[in-house]
């Protein structure tokens, strides 16, 4: 554009008789003629195109899907209950025709023990089917994941929204409380709760309720601080809307999607917390199975029957890895600006 201005000055007036065609310069010379108007894309199409380009996220999503399906159908298709003890069938290595031969240290354990059924993932020290137990344990991990998201959204988001919206003294007090709660290491809370409450899924959920939501409340608060000065909120106030209606009907829908994605990041943490507690012996107790307790059991015979620990470890590692990949991909797809957070 600047070039053309210069050109006009130099050659003005343009329509003069004593000008030859050589005096005129083609304005767009050397510039690529690119169409700068794009086809309009919808929000979801945009999100999908970002997401599908992220190979890691797609792989993560597929693995999660497979694990979820296996957790649902796994205990059903094995045809065995997770807590049935068949002591004659104890410590059998995995046997899947064509993949695992049921051989341990060169001996076909199935043949030597005279077992003619196949245990896909082998059996544990009590002769319980590992395949059923692993997928039963995955159900616990997935349940914990779901609980973590719900806690994040219900407690964390509400806390942040209220604290940020009211500001002033309310905000002061609520933030100090959050800061103090945040100062207590999760490890300490979790282990102590494991002592006070009967071990099991309830104590794990309680532990998550106390500490899991603080990060989310901070993000929600920061988002409210940005939005609460905007004009549509002022309009809503002028029309006489109540504070809670403004918070939950006007502000929340605008930040909900973003916060749900942030909540995805608490899933790996929650799964880890459960596995950690059960591994130390303060979480799920046998005969119930969770990935953590299976790892803890398998660990005792790590050097003799390594397959007993291999399957739960693989599922746990895959689950955490794919949730991390998936959450990363989602965040980048919905909001590329939040990459740095």
């Amino acid at each position: 554009m600047i070039m053309s201005d210069v050109m006009l000055e130099k050659h003005a007036p343009v329509l003069d008789d004593d000008h030859s065609p050589e005096d005129f310069v083609f304005v767009q010379e050397g510039e690529k003629l690119v169409d700068r108007t794009y086809k309009a894309t919808s929000y979801w199409r945009d999100v999908w195109s970002h997401f599908s380009k992220n190979r890691g996220a797609l792989i993560g999503f597929v693995i999660i899907l497979i694990i979820v399906i296996m957790a649902i159908i796994g205990p059903m298709i094995s045809g065995r209950a997770y807590d049935t003890i068949i002591i004659e069938h104890k410590n059998l290595p995995p046997k899947i025709p064509g993949i695992f031969g049921g051989v341990e240290r060169g001996i076909d354990v199935y043949a030597s023990k005279g077992v003619n059924v196949n245990y896909w993932f082998g059996t544990d020290y009590n002769g319980r089917d590992m395949f059923t137990r692993v997928w039963q344990g995955t159900r616990i991990s997935l349940l914990v994941a779901l609980v973590a998201v719900v806690i994040d959204i219900v407690i964390g988001m509400s806390y942040g929204l209220i604290s940020g919206y009211f500001g002033g003294r309310v905000d002061m007090i609520m933030q100090r409380i959050a800061e103090i709660l945040n100062g207590i290491p999760t490890l300490v809370v979790v282990t102590l709760l494991g002592m006070v409450l009967p071990s099991g899924i309830i104590s794990i959920i309680f532990a998550l309720m106390i500490t899991g939501w603080i990060g989310m409340s901070r993000i929600a608060r920061a988002e409210v601080l940005k939005l609460k000065e905007s004009e549509y909120i002022l309009a809503s106030k002028t029309l006489g809307a109540r504070d809670f209606a403004i918070i939950f009907k006007d502000i929340m829908p605008n930040i909900f999607g973003q916060l749900v994605i942030m909540a995805m990041f608490s899933i790996p943490n929650a799964i880890f917390t459960e596995a950690f507690l059960s591994f130390v012996g303060l979480g799920i107790q046998p005969p119930e199975a969770s990935l953590g307790s299976l790892i803890s059991d398998g660990y005792k015979s790590l050097t003799i029957h390594p397959y007993q620990i291999a399957f739960p470890v693989i599922v746990l590692a895959l689950l955490m890895l794919s949730f991390n990949l998936f959450a990363d991909g989602l965040r980048d797809a919905f909001d590329p600006n939040m990459k740095q957070m």
């Binding site: 890691g56 282990t191 102590l192 303060l282 790892i295 660990y299 790590l302 470890v313 955490m320």
Partner: protein, 311 residues
């Protein structure tokens, strides 16, 4: 700045006080008692309770304990090592845990920096992809899974190091736990270093340095790395938290008599004073490290203290 530091220190102290109170309250409500030897009669139990002052009202005990803690006295152990002062009981495990944790931190930071720099310099090549893969695995997979893998392959199959802790050969015994714990810091530091380094390398001042003909090594070490290092302080918090939690499980895997192991034992035996002391030491370390990170960051980045100070 001094106002900001004062505020942070006060909040930290308040947090510690609250933690101590909550710990005390929880142990008070906990089922079970430290004296559950079946041979003890009711009268003997009552005498034991009286001896250790456990028959007094809750608040009396709490303030007595608080006073003692301020004088550096953490009480005596009831079960694990009868009548031994808790401070003596926990000092050796604590030192061992800190030794492993500090080594893991050091190893993780150095490896992470190297990986991160390598990835940033070879942006969008296979080296970059490999480094990204290592870091996503390191961030996602819990440290005790690494601990188990290392114990099995290096300790059991290759027999290079002891699988379980051996008090006669401490330095060899803590190699595997250190590596297992170092995975998370390595992954996190390398991820962060990579993205910061790429930003810095694309900035104009690096172009200027390049134009002046500075050698590549000096460009990276003296000019680029410096500005990369500053934001890395922000991720020290999560890394330290992970180390604290991870150490507890990794200690269990390798049977290291560290503070985590002691705490689990004390919990299982209802040894009140030891549980409180361990939990308190964990919290104090955590809070102290968070405080240092916050203050450091406040010194480096003035925007932080303005934002936090006005809240």
């Amino acid at each position: 700045m001094s106002k900001y530091i004062t505020k942070r220190v006060l909040i930290s102290l308040a947090t510690l006080l609250v933690i101590l109170f909550v710990l005390f309250l929880m142990l008070d409500k906990m089922p079970g008692s430290p004296f559950n030897d079946e041979k003890l009669t009711e009268t003997q139990k009552a005498l034991l309770y009286a001896k250790y002052g456990l028959d007094q009202p809750f608040f009396v005990r709490f303030f007595k304990y608080l006073g003692a803690v301020l004088r550096g006295d953490l009480g005596v152990s009831y079960v694990l090592n009868k009548n031994k002062a808790v401070s003596d009981l926990i000092s050796a495990p604590l030192l061992l845990s800190i030794r492993i944790g500090a080594r893991a931190m050091l190893l993780g930071s150095v490896l992470g920096l190297l990986l991160g720099i390598a990835a940033a310099l070879n942006h969008n090549t296979w080296i970059d992809t490999l480094c990204s893969f290592i870091s996503i695995v390191g961030v996602s997979v819990p440290s005790y899974v690494f601990a188990l893998l290392l114990a099995y392959y290096i300790g059991f199959v290759l027999k290079l190091t002891p699988i379980l802790y051996n008090s006669k050969n401490v330095s060899a015994s803590i190699i595997l736990p250190t590596i297992a714990l170092a995975m998370f810091p390595t992954a996190n530091v390398s991820r962060f270093t990579r993205s910061e380094m790429i930003d810095v390398l694309n900035s104009e001042y690096i172009l200027l340095v390049e134009a002046k003909g500075v050698r590549q090594t000096s460009l990276i070490l003296r000019h680029a790395l410096r500005n990369t290092l500053i934001p890395i302080i922000t991720i020290m918090g999560p890394i330290l938290v992970n180390l604290l939690t991870g150490s507890m499980v990794v200690e269990k895997v390798f049977g290291i008599p560290g503070i985590g192991m002691l705490m689990v034992q004390a919990i299982q035996n209802n040894d009140y004073n030891v549980v409180i002391a361990c939990a308190f030491v964990y919290s104090a370390m955590y809070i102290a490290m968070m405080l240092i990170v916050d203050i450091l960051y406040g010194i480096i980045d003035p925007r932080i203290r303005v934002a936090k100070g006005s809240a």
